[in-house]
């Protein structure tokens, strides 16, 4: 299988002289096409930071990142934006929906930006809204809907353009178990049927059990990883819980 994403010696330091904080120390990882990778770790361990750097939204202090064979450190701003638009999909921890747009408009944004025909856009919106059960709120504005609904809208926006690599930061954080399962199932379907590569940050072992591999980070380094392989989801879930408790801090801190 082809390597989709490759990170070598990635380091991230926040702040300027005096107030520096090293969020990522030395991260090396490789994600193959069609993988569904989870990232877990205690709060403040650098998960969002890592995701932002891998997804080209933020820049690493040092180290190299290649996506689909492209060295993103060498790309210009304009190249990066079109790369992001064509290849990547995002589900952010804080939704990042535009409050000037209705839910429907938010969802279609990537297609509109790529100048897909209006008819085709309409068709795709209907399909995706059906998948996530948000047909009723399409004409509402973000401030008029619940957090879970916003998250589903954000997920719809991330996958509507069929990206080859999807980044998700706590996509189930604000969802009840039913909608969380629905979202995870559709992500996993996307992964299985459409061979989309997915990278998901989560606190939740249940969500992580949908992944094919889980990376655990602590204090800015990859602590260990857990591959699902042939194990059942139930077993995998249990293994993840074991690693988490070994990681310290206890279960309570992690959920």
């Amino acid at each position: 299988m082809k390597v989709m994403l490759e990170a070598g010696n990635v380091k991230k330091v926040y702040g300027q002289k005096g107030h520096i904080y090293t969020a990522l120390k030395d991260i090396n990882l490789e994600i193959k096409e069609g993988e569904f990778v989870g990232i877990m770790g205690p709060s403040g361990s650098g998960k969002t930071t890592l995701l932002n750097i891998l997804s080209t939204i933020d820049q690493a202090t040092s180290g190299s990142i290649r996506i689909d064979g492209n060295d993103i450190g060498k790309m210009k701003e304009e190249q990066l934006t079109s790369f992001r638009r064509e290849k990547l999909g995002f589900i952010f921890q804080d939704y990042n929906l535009l409050d000037t747009l209705t839910i429907e408009e938010n969802i279609v944004l990537p297609l509109a930006l790529s100048k897909v025909k209006a008819k085709e856009i309409d068709r795709r919106v209907k399909e995706i809204a059906g998948k996530f059960g948000i047909e009723d709120i399409l004409s509402k504005f973000p401030y008029q809907v619940s957090g879970g609904q916003k998250q589903r809208a954000a997920a719809s926006r991330a996958i509507i353009a069929n990206p080859s690599l999807i980044f998700a930061d706590e996509p189930t954080g604000a969802l009840d178990s039913k909608s969380a399962t629905a979202l995870l199932q559709s992500l996993s379907q996307l992964n299985v049927k459409d061979h989309a590569t997915i990278m998901m940050v989560t606190h939740d072992a249940f969500a992580a059990s949908f992944c094919s591999r889980v990376l655990f980070i602590k204090d800015g380094v990859i602590f260990t990883e857990l591959v699902k392989g042939e194990t059942s989801r139930q077993e995998y879930f249990q293994k993840i819980l074991d690693v988490l408790s070994a990681l310290g801090g206890g279960k309570g801190d992690l959920i």
């Binding site: 535009l98 409050d99 747009l101 509109a112």
Partner: protein, 643 residues
């Protein structure tokens, strides 16, 4: 924690917002104070005629309206910024009444402080300010001695005390008007979209039309209640404009939203939705900009038209910088020496024209031209060959060929209503040995001789001229053009000193300065108001842009994250801002066109050219504003750090 200490901490934390609000209040007070001081200036009071008095009053009404709008706008900007903070107090259990009182005190104390500082600053600066403005306007001829008047202070204090009191009550009301949840969502929630009602649109057009009609009609003589009429026009046009923008902008935006092919095409979706998001605020801003543009254009247009018509009429009356009747070669030589010594002025043209001056009767004319009387009922004869030569030198494409006793009058003050028709009319000149009769076959609306030396100039055939010059003394008229004639005061004085009364020394400079100081106050006032309003339009756009760019920053960050390039973002911003700029400019130009048409009727003069130039210049300034706005908006939105 006492309420007072909370308020003090607030001011510290929100210093930038407070500062902007405070500065705009002081700015308004200084402007208003300066204007009112001018109004009570002894010299100006003495010089003001009825007409100027009316214009002054209208201008101060406009200024009061402007100042109120401006302060109200800054206050709204300021209040909006603080809704969340107010919500937080409320959440922490501070009573509504207490918060309201706190906001009231805060605003009131700031207002009073601004008033004191503004008046002191105004008193100190307005003299300097006025001088600077005069320099800018080039109205050096308007000699205004500036002083501080008690009346001006009192009037400023009264007007602003009222404005401050009203805005302070607004702050107090803020807390009662909103529910807690709304205070928190203040920035997030869009404005509810008003319906695009055809009725409102028609009503808007009717109101604006009524205002226009009244403006045109007013010049026909309903002057009895000038202030009331002005107020009515302003009210009709302002309300009409607001309704117009509200219905039109909603209509346009909804239309573009309905058209999915357009709406779902690239970044259009962002621009359109942003505009709809703030639709009410936009309608207000569009109205304010349209009205301010109209007022600015009127002020500039009026003053420039006056300046232009004055300058034009002086220029036609004085085709040359200097002219005199030669009193022999010795004196001519002296004149030339003085001209050679003048450093700042170079002689560009010197001509010498033979002429015959005769007392004359104009029996056919009911209303002989004024130049005839000024020259003591004389006419000045000039041979056609000289006319043709001189016209050629001055670049006037006009040749005269006359027969026998035919003549052409050069009447540069020609007015279709009052002037004689010339054609077929006669002049009987008291020449020696016999009187002679000339028959006019036409006239020209310019003269080649300066007013004092030329009087009523009449061009005749060379043969006739030569024949008459045998028995009558030929005067030799010297005419000189120099560079910078409008500043040639010193040179002019030197020449006047050496030339005797008989030489009828005529200079452009004196006439020009005379004309300028007669209407200088009007010109100055127009330029003053124009500048103030240009600044005001600029600051309102600045406020709007500052608020919105800061609020929009997050949105553009999201867009960039999902793959919108900086170039596309700038394009979208440029389109949005174009919408905000273009609509009010068009309506503002239309408003001012009607107002200036009314002025044109009032003056009885054609002012199309100066009005077009004013509009052109304003549009240019406006376009520069546009690009600046797009750029700084873009910068704020792209900045890494939050402002």
């Amino acid at each position: 924690m006492t309420l007072f200490s909370i308020a003090r901490k607030n001011i510290k934390r929100n210093f930038y917002n407070y500062f902007l609000y405070f500065a705009s209040m002081i700015f308004s007070i200084v402007i208003f104070f300066t204007f009112v001081s001018l109004q009570y200036n002894d010299q100006i009071v003495k010089a003001t005629t009825m007409k100027v008095d009316g214009a002054f009053k209208a201008a101060s009404v406009a200024l009061i309206i402007f100042v109120s709008i401006f302060i109200w706008y800054s206050n709204a900007f300021f209040t909006r910024k603080r809704k969340k903070e107010v919500g937080l107090y409320s959440l922490l259990g501070v009573k509504k009444k207490q918060i309201g009182l706190m906001l009231f005190y805060e605003n009131f104390v700031m207002g009073i402080l601004a008033l004191v500082i503004g008046v002191i600053l105004g008193a100190l600066l307005s003299k300097f300010f006025v001088m600077l403005l005069m320099k800018l306007v080039g109205a050096a001829a308007v000699d205004v001695h500036f002083m501080i008047s008690g009346k001006a202070i009192i009037e400023t204090v009264i007007v602003f005390a009222i404005v401050i009191l009203i805005t302070s009550f607004e702050g107090y009301r803020l807390i009662y008007r909103f529910k807690l949840i709304e205070l928190f969502q203040a920035e997030k929630k869009g404005e509810s979209t008003p319906k695009a009602s055809i009725f409102a649109a028609i009503f808007a057009v009717i109101l604006i039309g009524f205002g226009y009609w009244l403006a045109l009609d007013m010049s026909l003589g309903i002057w009895s209640n000038f202030l009331f009429t002005v107020f009515l026009i302003l009210a009709a046009v302002v309300i009409g404009t607001y309704l117009f923008f509200r219905s039109l902008s909603v209509y346009l935006l909804k239309l573009s939203k309905k058209n999915k092919r357009y709406y779902y095409n690239g970044i259009n979706i962002i621009g359109t939705s942003q505009l709809l998001y703030r639709i009410r605020g936009n309608a207000r801003v569009l109205t304010v900009i349209a009205i301010l543009s109209a007022v600015t254009l009127c002020a500039f247009g009026t003053s420039y038209s006056l300046y232009y018509t004055n300058k034009k009429s002086v220029e036609t009356q004085y085709p040359f910088s200097f002219a005199y009747i030669s009193q022999g070669p010795a004196l001519d030589h002296k004149v030339n020496e003085i001209l050679d010594q003048a450093k700042d002025h170079k002689v560009t043209n010197t001509v010498s024209v033979p002429a015959l001056k005769f007392e004359a009767d104009l029996p056919d004319m009911d209303n002989p031209p004024s130049q005839y009387f000024m020259d003591l009922r004389r006419v000045t004869l000039m041979p056609q060959s000289e006319f043709n030569k001189l016209a050629g030198e001055l670049g006037i494409d006009d040749k005269i060929h006359l027969k026998g006793n035919h003549a052409i009058a050069l009447d540069n003050e020609y007015n279709a209503n009052y002037s004689p028709k010339y054609k077929g009319e006669h002049a009987i000149i008291h020449s020696k040995p016999n009187k002679a009769t000339l028959e006019f076959i036409g006239f020209k609306e310019f003269n080649l001789l300066n007013r004092e030396v030329g009087g009523l100039t009449v061009v005749v055939n060379d043969q006739l001229f030569n024949q008459l010059s045998k028995a009558n003394p030929v005067a030799n008229i010297k005419e000189i053009n120099v560079t910078n004639a409008a500043d040639a005061g010193q040179l002019s004085n030197k020449l006047a000193d050496i030339l005797p009364e008989k030489a009828k020394f005529s200079d452009f400079y004196k006439a020009y300065k005379g004309a300028m100081s007669a209407s200088g106050i009007m010109i100055f006032m127009g330029a003053f108001l124009g500048l103030v309003f240009v600044l005001a339009t600029g600051s309102i756009i600045y406020f709007k842009q500052l608020t919105e760019a800061t609020a929009d920053k997050d949105r553009y960050d999201i867009l960039r994250k999902i793959g919108v390039s900086n170039k596309e973002i700038k394009g979208s911003i440029a389109k949005q801002i174009l919408f905000i700029f273009a609509l009010p400019l068009i309506l503002g130009i239309l408003h001012s066109a009607f107002a200036l048409a009314s002025l044109s009727k009032l003056l009885g003069q054609n002012i199309v050219i100066p009005v077009l130039i004013s509009m052109g210049v304003y549009t240019l300034i406006y376009i520069i504003y546009y690009f600046l706005t797009v750029n700084s908006y873009d910068k704020i939105v792209k900045a890494k750090k939050r402002i």
